[in-house]
Subunit: 134 residues, 2 copies
Amino acid sequence: MAVTRNTVQREIVLSTVLSMCNHPSAEEVYDSVSKNDSHISKGTVYRNLALLSQTGKIRKIAMPGTLADRYDFNLKPHFHAVCRKCGKIIDVCCKERADGFSFSEPFKVEGMELVLSGLCSECDENSSDKSELK
Amino acid sequence: MAVTRNTVQREIVLSTVLSMCNHPSAEEVYDSVSKNDSHISKGTVYRNLALLSQTGKIRKIAMPGTLADRYDFNLKPHFHAVCRKCGKIIDVCCKERADGFSFSEPFKVEGMELVLSGLCSECDENSSDKSELK
DNA sequence: CTCCTTATCAGTAATGATTCTTAATTAGAA
DNA sequence: TTCTAATTAAGAATCATTACTGATAAGGAG
């Protein structure tokens, strides 16, 4: 419903994410924006990252636990692996077999967290569907 | 290294999780404990849930985004699906095929988040391994 | 059984990521 | 150009979780 406007802030946030190839967090996007271009408030960065991922311009990577969420310019379907020590994120392609992961670089898998999201049967039936939950 | 003691609080937290079959969050465990048994402080509940999952008594389900983490008494390997509306968690068995998920009850999949954790090649090599990252 | 070390506790302040609030600004249709 | 709703900056608020502090108690040594 909402009419989406083209703002310079939104354009800067988008181009910043597209220029960063390291799955940046909102904080890192904010830092990069602050360093390079004009000043954009942190709330605006968060809001635009959410908006851009909703409209499919970028992709949001919801990290487990209290780790900060990341954003990805790569829209092709793939999964991610986080290094427990340095926090680096590595792309993972999922082949036909469940056990056949292929990594963009070597990675020692210690654990995995898969969470599917959607609707349970009850909520699907009485679907006044407001996306109550985050 | 740390010698683990047997405390009543730890025993209560464990038995509470074991008695709850609905993947409770730390807050829900705290509520249940407060309602039934004696008083245990919230910090103690959090600490014991972490400790119990580290020692393999229960399993921690790190939820993506800002959703509260959950705990599971079921140690058998399986994944989880969260309802976007009511937040209910449903068990998912992963068969041989990547596309072959089987659910404990009907669920409409709208999205999935898979995050592998472990060590990238650099961190694996210079492994003074302190688990710096959460 | 008593003593002693130190893991653990209760209570609460602090943290960190994210969202919300409010008043001012501005994109873009009329 | 004018008007209005979308957007912004700045900072307060929220929420899950962790850290801190002084008090308590588990369990091995004697």
